[in-house]
Amino acid sequence: MHQPKLKSKVRCADREVGEITRVIVDPLSHEVSHIVVGGNGVGGAERQVPVSEVQSVADGLVQLRTASSALAQFPPLKREDYVTIHEVEIAHLEDHLHVESGEVLVPLPTLERNVPRRTFFMNLTHAIGTLVALPLAFPVLKYLMKPMYSPFDNAWLKVGNVNRIKTEDVGIQFKYKKKVKEAFMPETDVDKNVWLLKASPDVLEEVYKGKDMEFRDQAGRLVWTNKKDVPYVVFSGKCPHLGCGYKWRKVPKLGKEIFLCPCHLSIYEPSGKVLDGPAPRPLDTLPIRVDAGGNVEIIDMEFKAGTKAQTRIV
């Protein structure tokens, strides 16, 4: 059955009684629940008639079941118990409401009546919008990426003298200061440390595994080679697990001295090989150079923590 329309004539079983002055909608079901019949033949008040009394809905005419005499049984409308749908927010209420007959129209301006013209300007707007935003894309990306891939500093730093090392295969910590200048920040000294070891031939073999160790820069050029016959080995002071500073300790259970990281208990042999713990790779070796007077120089490097592969990051 169609929805009754506002202003439709209302007919009782016997005669016409008036017209639909208002329509009442149920807020939950979104269905028309009542029609309000007013106008002549009703005698004063508008009557609220439930939609179950409607027998049929035709164009502009609604037929009720009851006789006009029985119309008075329906309650008069208490307007203060209702609000219009413009005064309340009920989702999707008007989607299925078709109680208005006809539509209210507004003419399109003459200039907008040409469809090819509209589509052309629409597409042009999109094009120009893109072209305004696009030039920024590349500079902004480079702007944001500026500090992300800084070139490596491969300067040699003095850390001490080998005369501190008295015994073979014993780790000695060498502390040094590195000058760091980050972007616009004032230059500061950062405390760093490395572990030096005078390796016996066996340990040296463990470290180098028969090959000279090559260090390359980001472009792939050779920066330095640690010769495998030089007995001095230097390890980065940062544990390859998560970057904590580790220590040299004698462990009674093992009966020997090893490198021990206090953060997550990674244990390394003097050669840097992992004995126990979550370390993903052996201790990182650094380029080392010892002059005739026994002065030790290293290139300070840092490697990504937590990975099996050794990737230099600083």
Partner: protein
């Protein structure tokens, strides 16, 4: 007849003529809540309130805080020790962030249990998940700003975990850190993200979230005959707003109380070597932190699995939820899979959070 309209009434009539104020007001406020306003529905509004308080206290903190590696710690200490009631505003901001996470969990749980993510509310749910991510992002970025040991190391570990994302992980981590290692660039970036990018994103998405919610209408209770629902229906204003207000007041008082019970105390200033300090993230990330300690997640692949793959898969499941669960049934007691799933997830998070706290004593 009534007397001449007073000044206020004249002003209102002036604006109403030009803006349609009365109709606008009616549309915005007279939204019927089927089944009546409920205390269970307050969490969304409370979230908005907590966010506004965070914005206000955050702006106030910015009057004194300096986001530079050599001043961040000192300026934060200055706020705590010298500025009148600075300790209170900072502690409020700190505890407010915890409150926001709690409210997000409560709000998401309420929507989930009431089945209010189902059709036609799928988009509201998706936008909500994005908002959840933003709230977590706020917590993560804000945590670094005091630049003490806890802040610096929790961030370092957190970003390293993100690094494990395949393909884009390294780029993402370097982008956030502003380089290979955390430093001034990291602080600058986290500050911009925390203070500009995330607030703008949150406000935009929250606006969208509320708009979509209004368009779909409130879902209402999951049981009750139409007659019961109709008898109890009331309007958003003033009934639901009243309940929202009371809840906001209670949450406000709770945050203030926490600020009094445990005001923010910083550790020592950040140093490149963690020393004796054991890094730990904020409490709402602890469960993930503890999960990664399990042996099954050790090693590179294991860490990726535990930190990226599993949480990622869970979030993907949540996003797909309205499209997988097409049954119109919203009664939680008739959705055993949903109910048990929710209980299991909440219990797991709780167990792992508490485990992380217990584990502190076993860190040699």
């Amino acid at each position: 007849m009534s007397s001449q309209p007073n000044v206020l009434e004249k002003v209102i009539a002036f604006v109403d003529e030009r803006v349609g104020l009365k109709t606008l007001q009616a549309k915005m406020l007279n939204e019927p809540v089927p089944g009546g306003s409920r205390w269970a529905y307050i969490f969304g509004s409370v979230l908005l309130f907590v966010f506004i308080m965070q914005a206000v206290t955050g702006i106030l903190l910015m009057f004194y805080y300096v986001p530079s590696a050599d001043h961040a710690y000192a300026s934060t200490q200055y706020i705590i020790h010298e500025v009148d009631y600075g300790w209170f505003l900072l502690s409020y901001h700190f505890w407010g962030s915890s409150a926001m996470v709690v409210m997000v969990f409560a709000h998401m749980s309420q929507v989930f249990l009431w089945g209010a993510y189902k059709s036609p509310r799928e988009m509201i749910w998706l936008v909500g998940l994005a908002l959840f991510g933003i709230v977590m992002g706020f917590g993560f970025t804000g945590y670094l700003l005091p630049w003490d040991q806890r802040a610096y190391w929790a961030t370092t570990v957190g970003v390293e975990i993100m690094d494990k994302t395949p393909i884009v992980g390294d780029f993402m981590a370097r982008f956030l850190k502003g380089g290979a290692t955390p430093g001034q660039m990291t602080l600058s970036r986290f500050f911009v993200i925390h203070v500009m990018i995330l607030p703008a994103a949150l406000m935009g998405l929250a606006g969208l979230h509320i708009f979509l919610f209004r368009k779909a209408g409130p879902a209402g209770p999951f049981r009750g005959t139409p007659e019961e629902l109709k008898a109890k229906t009331d309007y958003f204003f003033p009934r639901q707003i009243w309940k929202d207000m009371v809840a906001m007041g209670a949450v406000f008082a709770t945050i203030c109380s926490l600020a009094f019970i445990e005001p923010v105390v910083l550790l020592e200033e950040a140093t490149p070597d963690p020393g004796e300090y054991h890094p730990e993230p904020e409490w709402y990330f602890l469960f993930l932190f503890q999960l990664l300690r399990l042996k099954i997640f050790s090693g590179e692949f294991g860490q990726f699995l535990g930190a990226i793959a599993i949480p990622g898969a869970f979030m993907a499941l949540l996003a797909a939820l309205p499209f997988i669960d097409r049954s119109p049934e919203r009664n939680i007691f008739k959705r055993p899979v949903a109910l048990i799933g929710w209980i299991v997830v909440m219990a797991t998070i709780l167990i792992f959070t508490v485990s992380a706290i217990i584990n502190r004593e076993f860190l040699d």
